[in-house]
Subunit: 225 residues, 2 copies
DNA sequence: GGTTGTCAGCTTGTCTGAGGAGTTGGTAGC
DNA sequence: GCTACCAACTCCTCAGACAAGCTGACAACC
């Protein structure tokens, strides 16, 4: 007897198999895969199934097919899906990553912040203050994240901003869990810490901005430990 | 006359069109797309072409097809491809991202490093010393990266390690360019700076490890400015 | 010798028609 | 009201045909 339940379509299974073979070194970077008909025969499926498998891996930037030439390996493994990595990672690891990004961003922001950035701080801090008092959890979370994002964007570094945005969904989920366990809403009261970070950036003191950012985020992390 | 050169296959064009429509809000998150035959008629292509387009977007985690039920939107836009982001980003932005990750990793490593980590430092530092003297550029680059990776892994944080690995290809390319412009191979001589970082981690001094790491990477960055 | 033109044989790209298999919602029967 | 069934819809897979593009070999030419 072969397989009881076939949970995945053939095309997906074929894609997995190709990915496995690439990972095992059967085809090196830049190598040309056998033709579609050959692969179809090897895996015992139709040609259109192989084509869909290749197309899926093309979408994942692992393969590239050129008409008339063939299918080529352009990456040895699927680019790590960061959403997936962060979902599976320990929340403390994620928070340490966030701390790395955000403290450096705060440091850079202190020397690069523009008047527009400062205005952004004022707006987001005011929002956060209001939300901390009375708003529902999700409002408060969005207001908090908006301020932190304002700090990161003030660093005027596209890579750091993109990194922060990648982390946001995971952080948001962690904050929801945290607030559920925290009846007293204790950590809503750290408005002062946020204003201190903004103040250090306004005063153009990189070390102070970084220290205050580190201090605040370390406190957040330790509430989980 | 229609098109002179058709650079993209129909299936790719169809995938982009679907992505555009999703981005424009035609289908909300979780919505079901029209059937294959309907879509094929709408876009004026065959059914298998639509299937390949859907399969490509499935590989990019934007669509999900369930047999018998339909094709559904599971993300409103393609997850940012980090390789692509880093390729397009300013190298200074990338180096600042690396600095953020690596200084924090050095700080954490100072309190978490194991004997195995220290042994790893010794090995990679010895390799780097040898390579700095006489080895070809690419050997030297790999030896240098191996030590830096050893520092990051000593932080025992999966997210930081994964971040560093994501950055490596872009950093490697930048180093190649740097060495080409640097006839004197001046920066091969900073072996001392690397050993100082390792020493601070060995001595379990987080602030010193972070400072030395920051100092070293700032120096690297300033050679580009 | 070196360059150019041609072409045969390979590759991927696209369409169509035919079933197979799973899901969903309605309906008849209890 | 509940269950069992079924019909219509969906995606899944295959096979065959032809179009379009690439590559290397070989002949013709300068």
């Amino acid at each position: 007897m072969s397989v009881m339940i076939r949970r995945h379509p053939l095309a997906e299974q074929a894609a997995e198999e190709l990915l496995r073979r690439i990972g095992s070194g059967e085809w090196v970077l830049g190598a040309k895969l056998p033709g579609e008909t050959t692969l179809a025969a090897q895996l015992g499926v139709g040609r259109s199934t192989i084509r869909e498998a290749v197309r899926e891996l093309a979408g994942r930037r692992v393969l590239e097919s050129r008409q008339g030439a063939g299918v080529f390996v352009i990456a040895l493994q699927a680019a790590e899906d960061w959403d997936k990595v962060l979902r599976k990672a320990d929340i403390t690891d994620v928070l340490e990553g966030r701390l790395a990004i955000e403290t450096e961003a705060a440091r850079l922001a202190a020397s690069r912040r523009t008047p527009a950035d400062l205005k952004n701080f004022r707006y987001t801090l005011t929002d956060r203050k209001r939300a901390a008092v009375s708003a529902p959890d999700d409002w408060y979370i969005e207001a908090d994240l908006a301020f932190h994002r304002a700090v990161v964007t003030a660093a005027h570094n596209a890579v750091l901003t993109e990194l922060f945005d990648t982390f946001v969904p995971r952080i948001r989920r962690a904050m929801i869990d945290m607030l559920k366990l925290d009846d007293q809403h204790r950590h809503r009261h750290d408005q002062a810490a946020h204003e201190a970070i903004a103040e250090a950036i306004r005063a153009q003191d990189p070390d102070l901005a970084a220290d205050r950012s580190r201090e605040h985020l370390s406190a957040v992390r330790s509430t989980l430990g």
